[in-house]
């Protein structure tokens, strides 16, 4: 979680300096969601998510150096500098993106689950969905297909309360988003996404259900993004008070306190960890900025295999 936070802070800084361009969506505040879910993942399980993907990749164990290199458009980034922040992939790690079109990742994730079932490999696909994306029609077509064909897909709704500047209650008729699976016979839960331990518990249970062949499952994880939707969003649609409220339940602080209380780590060990991570991220940024831009002829490669 700390690594994601420090990575995103550095990405924001590099964006401000003009090293990262285009749209850049930060994950700050939501760290416990992906970390909690991925604590329960098996190596060959697949993941597919949205453009808000830096944290997802870090949690998947991917190299911050190469993520930062992609953000800065360099040749040794995860998409060779061609995809950028929103479109990163690592097939080797079963990470299928990074998708820029809201909702489009949902049928894709369902299709990856279809392959897992087809091949009988006992792996599952975790498909992340934003609260805003829950109003896109293809989500419901996917739910129907997944349930009809009992596909091993775990849908995780990252409910950070807003789709860009629109709050959930202004966009969704019925704000219990996990209940939207009921009509298709899909079970679901709503869980606290600011506490990584509750996420782990719920994700473990849901993952086991899906892996057992019973079909899809929906987890609606309540979370919050501290920054604007993307770097250019001043986030004036919410109050400072609301933001403070969530900052006071910071997922990193909650995890830290819980670990200290249970004597899992000492304060000093956590401090050292933070220092180590700061150094790692600094090295990642340096690595990215020292890397080469893609060669000109790369413009024309990868259009067809």
């Amino acid at each position: 979680m700390l690594k994601i936070r420090r990575f995103e802070e550095r990405a924001a800084q590099l964006y401000g300096m003009g090293h990262i361009g285009g749209f850049c969506h930060l994950y700050i505040g939501q760290e416990a969601v992906v970390v909690g879910v991925l604590m329960t993942i098996k190596k060959n399980d697949s993941v597919v998510t949205t453009y808000r993907d830096h944290g997802h990749m870090i949690a998947r164990g991917l190299d911050p150096k190469r993520i930062m290199a992609e953000l800065t458009g360099r040749e040794n980034g995860y998409s060779s500098g061609k995809g950028g922040s929103m479109h990163m992939f690592s097939k080797e790690n079963n990470f299928y993106g990074g998708h820029g079109i809201v909702g489009a990742q949902v049928p894709i994730g369902t299709g990856i689950a279809f392959t897992h079932k087809y091949k009988r490999d006992n792996n599952i696909c975790r498909t992340y969905i934003g609260d805003g994306a829950m109003n896109n029609g293809q989500v419901f077509e996917s739910f129907n297909l997944a349930s009809l064909w009992k596909l091993p897909v775990l849908y995780i709704i990252e409910n950070n309360k807003y789709g860009m500047g629109t709050s959930v209650d202004r966009a969704a008729a019925g704000t219990d988003l996990y209940k939207r699976g009921e009509a298709f016979g899909i079970k679901g839960d709503k869980i606290d996404g600011m506490n990584v331990f509750s996420v782990i518990k719920a994700a473990d249970k849901a993952g086991k259900y899906v892996r057992s062949g019973k079909g899809p499952y929906i987890l609606e994880v309540q979370t919050y993004r501290y920054r604007g939707h993307s770097m250019s969003d001043p986030a004036q649609y919410r109050t400072k008070k609301e933001l403070e409220l969530y900052k006071n339940q910071d997922p990193i602080e909650i995890a830290k306190n819980q670990m200290l209380k249970n004597n899992l780590f000492s304060e000093k060990e956590l401090d050292n960890l933070n220092k180590k991570i700061i150094e790692e991220i600094k090295v990642a940024a340096e690595f990215a900025l020292e890397s080469n831009y893609p060669k000109n002829e790369e413009l024309y490669t990868n259009v067809y295999v």
């Binding site: 964006y15 285009g22 749209f23 458009g73 259009v303």
Partner: protein, 456 residues
């Protein structure tokens, strides 16, 4: 050790910002995450946070300073307060550059192509003082028409409370209320189809796509319902609707967000397709689009939203759909272009006149379907040479159709093969270096015009 805080880039298209407020004072201690200033970008007012801990040793700009280039130092944070105060005394700060153009040295290379040429002082479109931006021209036209006709409403994502993702609908909610300025969920296919249905039944919707990339979610409704129902119903049911929003590339938003839909929509009978290039024609064309009783696709361009230009004295002027504009007369070669490539073409024309003594005619299509065949044909009859400049992919583009028109109608007037200048035939890459290669550049246009004139 001290660190400069630079004017941050806070949006994909931002090249300069205004310092609206300092939230720290000289000498104050800051830690990472503290808000130190408020900056007005091309889109919004944003807070700037400190990234490192230290003391504010210098504020290099005053509150209210405007047009500060991205990457220019705005403050200095130092680790050690005493040391820096000593340094302070001898140091004079040069504030002369506050409102100047880019400082070549501090300007980050990656950003230099963003607003290329659009703020050129020699350009008559941007030079005048009594001018408005394209963003305002579009906004005003929508508001004016909404005042006249109560059946017009506008809907789309973030058009109301957020005031538009690109601030095009700013103020509309306040004036017209929630009934007529409607925020939608992210349900493009649903709300597009709904708007089309409402138009069948007599309303006159304006649908904003946050960008045209997302119209692909709804393209079935646009083509199968909006464009074809008049025909299928034997002329009973028409669909007076405008689909508008930014089209084409912005800056580094990569493959899924940088696509030009001109030829996609122009392919379809039943649709009209417009592509404005200036505040003037944006206004005249949009008014015609809103008054039209057919579905009209109105392709804006994000990079052009800030482009300034003069309007007609008659505020209610219309530019008829289907008319091209001869932006500049000439006799040696015709450039046919539209949307953002008009600006790049005009830039190329200046070079061609200065360095090669070529007198180039520039036609701005404005309307892609129907297309003004007459103006294009008359021009090639005069110049006998043609270059077509467009941002779209080359395969089956608007330019391909123009080539077909010319070979059919003016075959005997051609002195050289027509050259098309397009984006590369690949998805848009993210990396700034490849993005520049992908998009048509002024130099590519110069080369093409030279080539049709056999100048080596």
């Amino acid at each position: 050790m001290s660190k400069e805080i630079l004017m941050p880039a806070l949006s994909p298209t931002m090249t300069e910002g205004n310092l609206t407020k300092w939230l720290v004072k000289k000498g104050q201690k800051v830690k990472a995450g503290d808000v130190i200033a408020e900056i007005e970008t091309d889109k919004a007012t944003m807070e700037v946070e400190a990234v490192d801990e230290g003391y504010v040793s210098e504020l290099l700009f005053k509150e209210g300073d405007i047009n500060i280039p991205v990457s220019k130092p705005i403050a200095i944070i130092s680790q050690n307060i005493e040391k820096n105060q000593i340094k302070d005394k001898g140091k004079s700060i040069n504030k002369k550059n506050t409102t100047s153009n880019f400082d070549e040295n501090s300007q980050n290379k990656d950003l230099s192509h963003k607003k290329e040429n659009l703020e050129d002082k020699d350009n008559p479109i941007t030079a005048s003082s009594n001018t408005i931006t394209m963003r305002q021209a579009i906004r005003d036209t929508i508001a004016e028409e909404m005042r006249k006709n109560k059946d017009i409403f506008i809907m789309g994502e973030e058009v109301a409370e957020y005031q538009g993702a690109y601030k095009v609908t700013q103020g509309l909610l306040e004036e017209f209320g929630h009934k007529r300025v409607i925020d939608t969920p992210i349900s493009e296919q649903g709300f597009t189809g709904l708007a089309i249905g409402s138009a069948f039944k007599g309303l006159r919707p304006i649908v904003e796509f946050m960008t045209f990339n997302f119209s692909m979610q709804a393209i079935d409704q646009i083509i199968n319902s909006a464009a074809k129902t008049l025909y299928m119903s034997g002329g009973q049911i028409n669909c007076p609707i405008v689909f508008r929003g930014p089209n084409g590339a912005a800056s580094q938003v990569a493959a899924q967000h940088s696509q030009d839909f001109s030829s996609w929509y122009s392919h379809c009978p039943g649709l009209k397709v417009l592509a404005p290039s200036t505040p003037y024609n944006a206004k005249g064309l949009l008014r015609s689009a809103i008054k039209d009783n057919n579905p009209v696709i109105f392709l804006e361009n994000e990079i052009l939203y800030g482009l300034k230009g003069q309007l007609s004295k008659d505020n209610d002027f219309l530019i008829p759909i289907g008319t091209a504009n001869i932006e500049k007369e000439g006799k040696d070669t015709t450039i046919v272009t539209y949307s953002i490539m008009l600006q790049k073409s005009l830039e190329a024309v200046k070079i061609l006149e200065r360095e090669f003594d070529l007198n180039v005619e520039v036609i701005d299509l404005q309307s892609l379907r129907p297309i003004d065949q007459g103006t294009i044909i008359e021009s090639i009859k005069k110049t006998n040479r043609m270059v077509i400049v467009e941002e779209s992919w080359p395969f089956a583009s608007i330019g391909s159709e123009i080539v077909n028109i010319i070979q059919k109608e003016a075959f005997d007037y051609m002195d050289s093969p027509i050259i098309k200048v397009n984006s590369a035939d690949v998805p848009m890459p993210y990396s700034s270096s490849l993005e520049k290669l992908y998009l048509p550049q002024v130099d590519d246009i110069v080369k093409a015009v030279k080539a049709v004139n056999y100048i080596t």
